[in-house]
């Protein structure tokens, strides 16, 4: 227990180094793109709305920054009726309703 505590305290610098490397890789990539998520959200809603009627606030986008990979999580709630209609093959050219 005591030994583990010593070990951990001694090695905080490598943790600092790793945290910085991950953080700065992302900050450099996303500098000037702080609204990236907002843009993605708009465009994803537009694409889905072409085919399925969805509600704007039922689309959630999350970015989890990690090393070696980051995950972009897109969560879209589609009303069952709309999904069923889309599956039955409504004409794609027909504009779908987007609320909000």
């Amino acid at each position: 227990m005591n030994l583990m505590g010593l070990f951990r305290r001694r090695n905080s610098a490598p943790v600092a180094r790793e945290r910085l490397q991950v953080l700065l890789a992302h900050e450099r990539a996303f500098v000037g793109q702080s609204d990236l998520l907002a843009v993605l959200q708009e465009e994803i809603i537009a694409v889905i709305a072409k085919h399925v009627s969805i509600e704007r606030d039922r689309v959630q986008i999350k970015l989890d920054r990690g090393d070696p990979i980051s995950t972009l999580e897109i969560d879209v709630e589609v009303p069952s009726a709309a999904a069923a209609a889309a599956l039955r093959g409504r004409p794609a050219a027909r504009p779908a309703m987007v609320s909000g």
């Binding site: 600092a16 180094r17 490397q21």
Partner: protein
């Protein structure tokens, strides 16, 4: 041909003003004509670190706004006559600095001096961007600590995009000055090592300034450490850094932990 240097960091309290004074003192001792310029309008401190706080009459703002001529505001150092100070205003704020006014003052300084060393305020706002705008080279002062390294990374990005050189598509030289370095703690893995910081920030190393009582003592006395205590380890590091700024290639000596026999015997516990 004058060289404009900005001493910058993003984060406050890492040693910008101390380093400005020490590098100015070191360059001046090598016979170069040097002016140190305080851009920290409203929170000036370079005058205090230089020991000239009671000699300030006119300041950068007065010159920028045309209320005083540049020679009236320049304070010549009493210890070494190749060193001058252009103090900041204590009563005005950074909005009193105009881009045109700063450009004119830097232009006038370029005619009088070999080195113009601009002490940037902390932060990434107007005061900091004006301080870096005309720079030919930057000294990025960084402590081996996560928040300082992150802010330095941000400042490096700004140097590459928001300076006159960057706008003209020219290169701006960036140098890392690692300050308040404690070799014993780095050896024990408690503090980021020089190589860690260099790898993360990817700019060349200008020098490593060890954490030192001599630096605090110099501030207390109002004497740049390179003038007041030139044989101290910190001053020697600053002298080497100044020579590198002049283009010399020197191996950077990393201050090593000096462990006595008992220290070695009992290892890290004994030193801690």
């Amino acid at each position: 041909m004058a060289t404009v240097i900005v001493v910058t960091s993003g984060k406050g309290g890492v040693g910008k003003t101390t380093s400005t004074a020490a590098l100015g003192g070191a360059l001046a001792q090598s016979g170069q004509n040097v002016v140190v310029v305080d851009f920290d309008v409203g929170l000036r401190n370079l005058d205090l670190v230089m020991g000239a706080e009671r000699r300030v009459v006119f300041d950068l703002i007065n010159v920028v706004q045309g209320d005083a001529k540049l020679p009236q505001a320049l304070i010549r150092d009493k210890r070494i006559d190749t060193l001058s100070l252009l103090p900041a205003s204590q009563t005005r704020d950074k909005d009193a600095l105009t881009a045109e006014g700063v450009a004119r003052v830097i232009g006038e300084l370029r005619e009088k001096f070999d080195w113009i060393i601009c002490d940037s305020p902390a932060g990434i706002e107007r005061g900091a961007t004006l301080a870096m705008y005309h720079a030919d080279a930057a000294v990025v002062v960084t402590n081996p600590e996560v928040s300082s390294v992150r802010d330095s990374d941000r400042i490096i990005g700004m140097l590459d995009s928001k300076t006159a050189r960057a706008e003209r598509g020219e290169h701006i030289a960036k140098h890392l000055l690692l300050t308040r370095y404690d070799p014993a703690r780095a050896t024990r893995g408690e503090m980021l090592k020089t190589d860690d910081v260099l790898e993360i920030l990817s700019i060349p190393l200008l020098g490593i300034i060890p954490e030192s009582e001599d630096v605090l003592r110099s501030s207390n006395l109002g004497t740049p450490v390179t003038l007041g205590n030139p044989n101290s380890p910190a001053a020697k590091s600053y002298f080497e850094a100044a020579r590198r700024l002049r283009g010399e290639t020197l191996v950077v000596s990393i201050p090593a932990e000096r462990k006595g026999f008992m220290g070695r015997l009992f290892g890290r516990r004994a030193v801690a």
